[in-house]
Symmetry: C2
Subunit: 215 residues, 2 copies
DNA sequence: GCTAGGTAAATTGTATCCAATATCCGTGAT
DNA sequence: ATCACGGATATTGGATACAATTTACCTAGC
């Protein structure tokens, strides 16, 4: 399986996400196109197109003639995002349970295992990625592509803070347990339990993350 | 109140929306950048940046090295969009009722009147715009900007078909009545009634629109 | 007649260059 | 001392030119 050659804008987009995720670009900071383009070794055009994507996702704010700025997340924004996630993930999980097959369960169990493995290494970026794969594999089962797209946007908006969350060992341990519970609930085809555990999982997350923002 | 000079990409974005809305660009059709840029009298750069916005909104699909295509909406997509709207608008209306002031009610009544006026003229584009203003004025009262943003995306995705919907006189009459009911429910500060009427309003809409797509 | 390969045309992707705009700083007037 | 005005500078916005990729068509071979 050879990987297709990506366009420059796609590469730049991936790089930008990492920069934002790792905090190399801090929230509120202006993104100086010339400097970044040179740093990435590309011209400004693909960089700008990548920024437009992030603008659409709300990851950066755009002011005409002034430029792009990394989006800031107030404590109010954070709660709004999690409230919306609660609504939409409930829908996604409910639909997912209706569609789930034995094969899907195996796949998801496999992804849970990968989260565990990443957690063992302690690399925050790897944990974040594995965690995302796990959850979105479930959401995808809803077979509601637009719903999944909206969820991705909401997750992206808080990724920066979630990585801080993963930095704490106690959080990491709890996550693994909760993932197991989610898996159990899905195996039992229980909508109520699946949704409940997702809610718990999220509530724990928002509590820790808001502590980070407040602090 | 003088209007700021818009950047070219903003103008192009507005033009593109109209093109899609009016069906000058048909769903599924490729957007040939050179031709459109010439038609608009601009270079391809601002056109591409506008397209990237629409890509983020899901209004167009992008395939690297092949270009942008106007998004198609299957009957399944339509139902998904309306299902998501139901979830999110319920939340928005609930929050709105909690925040609404006398002043807000006057503003919304005024917007309802504008819809009525636009309906009298019969210009579909004007009706669409007025209708949007009315509904989003309500959603904005939720003071949940991200929620409003998601709703805008969902509305945009189906605007093409909604304009067909407005073309029928019977639909237009019913809309006006339903707007009045919504206004009454808001005045009474009733969450239950406000949500119920929004649901009714939407259900009538989806029924007509799906008839259009199916037919 | 049908398939495979290769070449040409069309279209998109990127880089470079120039124009337009906002911001910053200094000067002068009140 | 403070505010208003103006020009210099930095940064973004847009146009043009060129490179890369895909697609379609045509030819050769089976």
């Amino acid at each position: 399986m050879n990987t297709k050659p990506l366009t420059t804008q796609e590469e730049v987009l991936a790089l930008l996400r990492v920069e934002i995720l790792t905090g190399a670009l801090n929230p509120g900071q202006q993104i100086v196109q010339d400097a970044l383009a040179e740093k990435f070794g590309v011209s400004r055009v693909p960089l700008r197109e990548a920024l437009k994507i992030l603008e659409g996702e709300g990851q950066v704010a755009y002011h005409p003639h002034r430029g792009y700025f990394v989006a800031e997340l107030s404590i109010g924004d954070l709660h709004e995002v999690y409230r919306l996630r609660a609504l939409l993930e409930c829908e996604a999980v409910t639909a997912a349970v209706a569609n789930i097959t034995e094969r899907d369960l195996l796949t998801i169990a496999e992804l849970a295992k990968k989260v565990r493995k990443a957690t063992a290494t302690g690399e925050v970026l790897a944990i974040t990625a594995a965690n995302r794969s796990f959850h979105f594999a479930i959401f995808e089962l809803s077979e509601m592509p637009r719903l999944v797209r909206l969820l991705r946007q909401l997750w992206d908006a808080t990724d920066v803070y979630r990585s801080v969350y993963f930095a704490h060992a106690t959080n990491r341990d709890r996550i693994l347990l909760e993932h197991d519970e989610i898996l159990n609930a899905l195996s039992a085809r229980s909508v109520a339990l699946s949704v409940r555990w997702h809610d718990t999982h999220r509530d724990n997350s928002v509590a820790s993350v808001s502590a980070v923002i407040a602090g």
